[in-house]
């Protein structure tokens, strides 16, 4: 591809990619495993040494995880229900996140571009911002009732602010020079919005989306404390009530992995769309 050859030939700006990336990747993978493995070993030893009787050993959790995912070991109320809870949580996380993005990105662009909208909305939004999402729980239960809608609302709220603030920042920090360049080339007025403002703000918007999605997974446990029957947050709450710590840990692990994977998806899309940006190469 001509782009890569250009990059390699074009002087110092961009270091050429190494020809063989596998050894490097292997090394990175190995290094990344050190801390989790050490933690697992410590956990195992601590449980075996009898430091606690309330926490199951890693092997037991692994066994429950298999049962939670496919069943066939314990065959209790939670066996082979992982996909149900995961799907329930994912629908709320992605639904709330998508709604937040749909509202926050256009609103952020408006606030960033329009003085009047900024004067009207910015003080209010800044005032509401310090209120933690968790503090909204009781009100959201009153407003939306016990159940999925309340969880959905909390996820929306959690994802909303990072997306909004980063969009405003991105739109407001477009270099003045680029507007000058566009206008002397014949691109003026509202045409500049799609050809200058939006592409220039895209890196910030993506930063906001990434933070927002992370927070959506963060908030889901709180959101699903409000009496929903399904969802990973509900599993964790049930595990706590039933004193089934292994279930709590299984829920935590699934949320961690799901959150990580969805972040990787966003990062992959981002790196693809922002190939032009020197700070988004991987």
């Amino acid at each position: 591809m001509s782009v890569t050859t250009a990059a390699a030939a074009a002087e110092p700006a961009n270091a050429a990619r190494p020809a063989s990336r596998w050894p490097a990747r292997f090394k990175a993978f190995g290094l990344a495993l050190i801390v989790p493995l050490a933690l697992l070993a410590f956990w195992h030893v601590a449980v075996k040494a009898g430091m606690t009787r309330l926490i199951p050993s890693p092997a037991e959790v692994a066994e429950y995880m298999v049962d939670f995912a496919v069943g066939g070991i314990w065959d209790d109320a939670f066996s082979a229900t992982l996909h149900i809870h995961l799907l329930a949580s994912m629908s709320r996380v992605y639904g709330g996140f998508a709604l937040a993005a749909l509202v926050a990105v256009p609103l952020g662009i408006l606030i960033g571009r329009n003085e009047t909208v900024r004067a009207v909305l910015d003080p209010f939004l800044q005032l509401m911002r310090p209120v933690p999402v968790t503090a909204w729980l009781p009100l959201s239960m009153i407003l939306f009732g016990l159940g999925a809608r309340s969880a959905f609302f909390l996820v929306f709220l959690g994802a909303f602010y990072p997306i909004l603030l980063n969009t405003v920042f991105g739109v407001r920090s477009v270099e003045k020079r680029l507007f000058e360049a566009a206008s002397m080339l014949g691109c003026t007025g509202s045409a500049q919005f799609f050809r200058v403002v939006l592409p220039a703000a895209l890196p910030s918007i993506f930063t906001g989306l990434r933070l927002g999605l992370g927070l959506a997974w963060f908030v889901i446990v709180v959101g699903e404390m409000t009496g929903v029957p399904q969802g990973l947050g509900a599993v964790i709450m049930d595990g706590r009530t039933l004193s089934r710590t292994e279930l709590v840990i299984c829920g935590m692990i699934v949320i961690g992995i799901a959150g990580y994977l969805s972040d990787r998806v966003v990062v992959t899309i981002m790196n693809r769309l922002l190939r032009w940006s020197p700070s988004h190469h991987g």
């Binding site: 074009a10 360049a181 002397m184 003026t188 032009w276």
Partner: protein, 257 residues
């Protein structure tokens, strides 16, 4: 009657207001540029040369006087006056090709025409191999070639250049000066070029306009009669340089006195 000039600057002045304080950046500037001329504006910082250029570009509105292009007042930035900035001002999310095609595409030219124009100017500035690279992958000299090409691809009649080679190393600068002269001679462009290098001004210009600070104004104009291509090492070139140098310094000496 004399031929209508492409650019006629009449009594242009600019006063900025900064924290309630008035700063006179430019006072009563008068300058006539004919089509195809290469004019350099030279002077110390604060002499208003960039302000004058930005008024011609339409980025700044003069406080007094007016700038006329083909006898019509300049009403704002437009494709007939292309600007080349010292910091390039390329769109980082567009490739070399797309940057050069930005103007033609903005004007709504048909796709095939945009493509042909882009190809022609990519080749003209020698960036064929880098046509699909992004600006951050290019050296400073290459970026400035793109900036020049996108203005030319947009059919600019007059190119305004604000210390375009000021951030480049000496070798790259000399090559780009040669290339610019080559393009200028082939296309009959009109160039208004701001610089603070006496040598650069004499090497490039048909006419050098000397400006002075405090308040910024045009002090004198000097036709450069040296035959092209010019040799910066020749005795004739040095004579002109000594002359102009003395002129610039006498302005400064007068001001200091």
């Amino acid at each position: 009657m004399a031929e209508l000039p492409i650019l006629d600057i009449r009594g242009v002045g600019k006063i900025y207001e900064l924290n309630g304080q008035k700063i006179e950046a430019l006072r009563d500037a008068n300058l006539v540029v004919r089509k195809g001329e290469f004019v350099c504006l030279i002077g110390a910082s604060g002499c208003g040369k960039s302000t004058l250029l930005r008024i011609v570009a339409g980025f700044e509105v003069p406080t007094s006087g007016e700038a006329l292009m083909w006898d019509k007042p300049v009403g704002g930035p437009a494709p007939d006056r292309g600007m080349v900035f010292q910091d390039y001002g390329l769109f980082p999310w567009l490739t070399v090709r797309q940057n050069i095609g930005f103007g033609p595409a903005s004007r709504g030219l048909p796709r095939s025409e945009v493509r042909d124009t882009v190809e022609r100017f990519v080749n003209m500035v020698g960036l064929t191999r880098f046509a699909d690279a992004w600006p951050h992958q290019l050296s400073g000299g290459m970026k400035q070639r793109v900036a020049i090409a996108r203005v030319l691809a947009n059919d600019a009649e007059m190119v305004l250049m604000d210390e375009p080679f000021g951030a480049l190393d000496a070798m790259t600068r000399e090559r780009l000066q040669d290339e610019l002269l080559d393009i200028w001679q082939r296309t009959r462009l009109t160039v208004l070029f701001v610089t603070h290098s006496i040598e650069e001004a004499i090497f490039l210009a048909d006419r050098v306009v000397v400006m002075e600070p405090g308040p910024g104004r045009i002090a004198s104009e000097h036709g450069i009669a040296l035959p092209r291509p010019r040799d910066v090492a020749s005795p004739e070139f040095n004579e002109v340089r000594r002359d102009l140098s003395a002129r610039l310094h006498s302005h400064h000496a007068r001001k200091a006195a």
